[in-house]
């Protein structure tokens, strides 16, 4: 060891020597820019994979350290975001409900125009009897708003039913699909009179209700529209009911019966219009209904 020391330069010699190397390197790389490229390439192939490895390790460590540190923050943020999600979901629901309502009301408006000869009051269904179908239901308008028993109720498409009972702020409606309901009707083209009777069984099966007492000579055709007739004691004339199908002659051979598919979707009634006009008939007159 001692021997080798004797042959080595002093620090100052070394400083001069290395400085000269540096100056050489500087001038070479300044003059010949491409000369150092191979050197860089070699160094990069060696060092960059290592840097990558360490970096991914560092990222992993950093991630974990960060996640511990900010756990509290994240929880806070999560709670906040959840709150926000709830809020937005609610808002979204409200909006889509509003849109649906808008559609419904627009349909009602159309009906309102179609039956413009009658005065009407808009009402909302607030409860219904059991089952999916609106056999009988309650609306949110009552005698306070001028609703009286036997007033006709219509919705998008046509006749819904008739008011059977009124309270101060509510009214019960019996719909035409109710088994106890019968409506005197006529075909819109031929004018053949008949009676539309509720049938809660067939309405659940295929959405139709019964039509009876069609004269055997009547030339009512399938697909024809039924409207309320002029001889009805409770129903105003000319309200659409539905389309006729399955006309058949009864076994008595005196009358025919058929099925009618109501225009109103009795599974989804939300808003209805009550016609605030009663059909005036003498109290003792015969009723077709």
């Amino acid at each position: 060891m001692k021997n080798r020391h004797n042959f080595e330069f002093s620090p100052k010699t070394m400083l001069v020597f290395l400085t000269i190397i540096c100056i050489l390197l500087l001038s070479v790389s300044a003059v010949l820019k491409d000369a150092v490229k191979p050197l860089s390439a070699v160094a990069e192939t060696v060092v960059i994979p290592m840097q990558d490895g360490i970096n991914s390790f560092g990222v992993w460590v950093g991630d974990h350290a960060g996640s511990f540190k900010s756990m509290k923050e994240l929880k806070k943020e999560n709670a906040k975001l959840n709150e926000k999600v709830r809020e937005l979901t609610q808002e979204n629901e409200t909006l889509s409900t509003n849109e649906k309502e808008l559609n419904n009301l627009q349909k009602l408006l159309k009906i309102d125009k179609a039956y413009s000869q009658y005065k009407k009051v808009g009402a909302r269904v607030i409860s219904k009897g059991s089952g999916n179908w609106y056999n009988t239901f309650v609306i949110n308008k009552g005698s306070k708003d001028g609703i009286k028993v036997n007033m006709n109720v219509i919705a998008d498409g046509g006749l819904v039913g008739i008011v059977t009972e009124t309270g101060r702020t509510y009214a019960k409606v019996c719909s035409i699909i109710n088994d106890s309901s019968s409506v005197s009707a006529k075909s819109s083209q031929a004018g053949d009179t008949c009676v539309v009777q509720g049938n809660s069984e067939s309405v659940q099966k295929d959405g139709t209700i019964d039509v009876t007492y069609i004269s055997k000579d009547a030339d009512m055709k399938e697909g024809e529209e039924l409207i309320t007739s002029h001889i009805s004691s409770k129903y105003l004339e000319g309200i659409k009911i539905g389309t006729v199908s399955k006309i058949s002659t009864d076994s008595s051979n005196l009358t025919k019966s058929a099925k009618v598919t109501p225009f109103v979707d009795f599974q989804h009634i939300e808003d209805v219009l009550v016609i605030t006009q009663l059909k005036e008939v003498p109290a003792d007159s015969d009723s077709a209904d």
Partner: protein
């Protein structure tokens, strides 16, 4: 021989650490200069010549990767090694203050030189801004990291010296 390999590996590790891991754990956009820690530590522990060689090669690495011309950092770091080597004469291995002071002063000077090269020559005259936002924070951070790094390097040096002594005994 063993010392040479260990030192080369140390230079390499410090370089990779500085350019990868410490880039990730920046504080306020500042990375500590651990190559400078290595150079100061080696120079003060081993003397001028090892300090110069370590400085030269770590500077060369910096040049190859980040400089447009090769030799600038090599010269700068070599001079650091040379100057720090003077303090080897008043250094004892249980003296923890001197190396840290050297590291801090080195980094301060390094910061000013970088300011002159990168800032002043490109007409950025806001020395106060550089001082407050780059030079002083880097110095503080480097000294803080140096506190740990120096202890590790000291242990490695002790271990190498022990090995060398044993080798000398055998010879």
């Amino acid at each position: 021989m063993k010392r040479g390999i260990v030192t080369a590996v140390l230079v390499f590790i410090c370089f990779i650490l500085q350019t990868s891991v410490f880039e990730l754990i920046k504080l306020a956009g500042i990375t500590p200069n651990i190559l400078l820690i290595l150079i100061s530590s080696v120079a003060v522990m081993r003397g001028q010549k090892p300090g110069m060689i370590v400085g030269f090669f770590s500077g060369l690495l910096m040049d190859i990767f980040y400089g447009s011309t090769i030799g600038g950092f090599a010269f700068l770091y070599m001079v650091f090694g040379f100057v720090d080597g003077f303090f080897n004469r008043i250094y004892y291995s249980d003296d923890n203050i001197l190396p840290l002071v050297l590291i801090g002063v080195n980094d301060l000077i390094y910061g000013f030189i970088m300011y002159i090269l990168c800032g002043l020559l490109q007409n950025h005259l806001r020395i106060i801004y550089y001082l407050k936002n780059i030079i002083l924070p880097e110095m503080v951070y480097t000294v803080a990291v140096g506190l740990v790094c120096y202890q590790i390097l000291l242990r490695i040096n002790d271990w190498l010296e022990k090995n060398e002594k044993r080798g000398a005994d055998f010879v």
